[in-house]
């Protein structure tokens, strides 16, 4: 019984799948870090009184949120690299760009919402001390807003992690792609996919548990 299990696809696929997991995590983490930077800039731009800044950021957010991420990644990988700039970018680069842009648009709304939720009196109190707009944002509004961003950013991590599975269509060797490679070779479709899903859950469930705890602690 034990030997049968050890010999089955449940176990034998694991080294292969873990290799994919590494790439999945790499894309997610780098994409989210860059996406947060992009999102912070776009989110603050959405609060700007400058029409151009507001306009650009709004178009960005609406276009990215209004189109499927699968179309976006194909656009970046096939459309942009070959037709528009004539440079071939690797699947991995395209995947990271896609997560950055996609998460960036959602994070922009998270940032906008969190900053907007800070009582206007905080801003006024800072400005009446003589702090500049930038200082007020940096020392007063942002630290409070950031706290409120943590739970939705955690959710975005989970969403982006799952979105990386779409990159199997451009042959990025992430978790789902590796799973497909494995069952194509072994025909053990069911067992492999069970393991693929379990590995996703292994990351997402602890993440949401930790998030819930943080949320309770922050009381936001």
């Amino acid at each position: 019984m034990f030997e049968a299990l050890m010999d089955s696809a449940y176990v034998k696929s694991l080294p292969f799948l873990f290799e994919g997991l590494q790439l999945t995590l790499l894309i997610t983490v780098i994409g989210l870090i860059l996406g947060f930077i992009l999102g912070a800039i776009m989110g603050l731009a959405r609060l700007s009184k400058n029409r151009l800044t507001y306009g650009i950021s709004t178009v960005f957010v609406e276009v990215v949120r209004g189109t499927p991420i699968l179309a976006q990644v194909m656009f970046i990988y096939f459309g942009l690299s070959e037709d528009l700039i004539g440079v071939n970018i690797s699947g991995l680069t395209a995947a990271i760009i896609a997560i950055t842009i996609n998460a960036g648009a959602y994070i922009a709304e998270i940032v906008r919402g969190a900053v907007h939720s800070i009582d206007r009196g905080q801003f006024e109190a800072g400005r009446s001390l003589g702090l500049t707009e930038r200082q007020t944002m940096r020392y007063i509004v942002w630290p409070q807003a950031f706290k409120r961003m943590i739970p939705p950013l955690g959710n975005q991590f989970i969403i982006s992690l799952k979105d990386t599975s779409l990159f199997s269509v451009i042959a990025v060797g992430e978790l789902l792609y590796m799973g497909r490679q494995y069952f194509n070779a072994t025909a053990e479709v069911f067992e492999t996919l069970v393991m693929v899903c379990l590995i996703y859950l292994m990351i997402t469930i602890p993440t949401s548990l930790i998030l819930r705890r943080i949320e309770r602690k922050l009381d936001v």
Binding site: D119, E124, A125, L129
Partner: protein, 240 residues
């Protein structure tokens, strides 16, 4: 010290201030009273440009504050503001609230800013709350901390926007006490308030505002005991 000429302020189509003229002398305590919606808070907020001024002129010492060439941050650093809802920074301790302005705006070093802050906290009776966070303070303590925060900038004038209106009645006295001490020390103050006792006792002058204009102004005794304008009479008869 402060000179306001023909100040108008509109929010969209709604004209809230319809031509205010006012002077505040150095060391003077001016109390602004009037029914809600009379524009008195808006007037006060125009004095440090928390509201954009639609037309007219506000001059503080030598600076016309609504002149686009004026460095408004420098002016604001000399004009303290105390809010109805305190607006303390909840992510900072009381001490950090008080030292933020001096450190970031004036470039005071931390040690010096701390010393000054402790002195001010002692003055408002909160020296034992320096390391506390605003959430753990009572309303009266919060407002006194907010006053200390403003004073840390060593302003030449202090603006108070209904500083006791959101306090429980038993906590109002402490805050008014601190304000009274300030007035005695010669601080120039403009106070929007519903505390008629304070206006009468501490104010050098009272301005009665209604419908966006100053209806009547004068010495407290004159306004409270012998108001000339029928609107002033009506207002005072309702609240006294």
């Amino acid at each position: 010290m402060i000179s306001v000429k023909d100040l108008h302020k509109s929010f969209g189509d709604l004209e809230v201030l319809k031509g205010i003229d006012a002077e505040v002398q150095e060391s003077e305590v001016v109390c602004v009273i009037g029914p809600s919606g009379s524009g008195k808070s808006t007037f006060l907020r125009c004095l440090n440009l928390l509201e954009d001024i639609t037309s007219g002129e506000v001059k503080i010492e030598q600076d016309i504050i609504n002149d686009p060439n004026t460095d408004i941050n420098r002016v604001r650093s000399q004009v303290g503001m105390v809010f109805q809802h305190f607006n303390l920074f909840p992510h900072m301790t009381v001490l950090e609230n008080v030292t933020l302005g001096p450190i970031k705006v004036k470039g005071t070093d931390e040690q010096q800013a701390n010393d000054l802050a402790m002195k001010l906290l002692e003055k408002v009776g909160l020296e034992d709350k320096a390391e506390a966070y605003p959430d753990s303070l009572s309303g009266g303590q919060k407002q006194r901390a907010a006053i200390a925060r403003s004073l840390a900038m060593e302003p030449s004038v202090m603006l108070f926007d209904e500083p006791t209106s959101s306090l429980d009645p038993e906590l109002v006295g402490d805050v008014l006490g601190v304000m009274k001490d300030l007035a005695k020390e010669g601080m120039t103050m403009v106070v929007v308030t519903h505390e008629m006792g304070f206006a009468r006792e501490v104010g050098d002058r009272v301005m009665f505002m209604d419908e966006g204009v100053v209806m009547e102004e004068g010495k407290p005794q004159q306004i409270f005991e012998n108001p000339q304008n029928p609107r002033t009479q009506e207002f005072l008869s309702k609240i006294l």
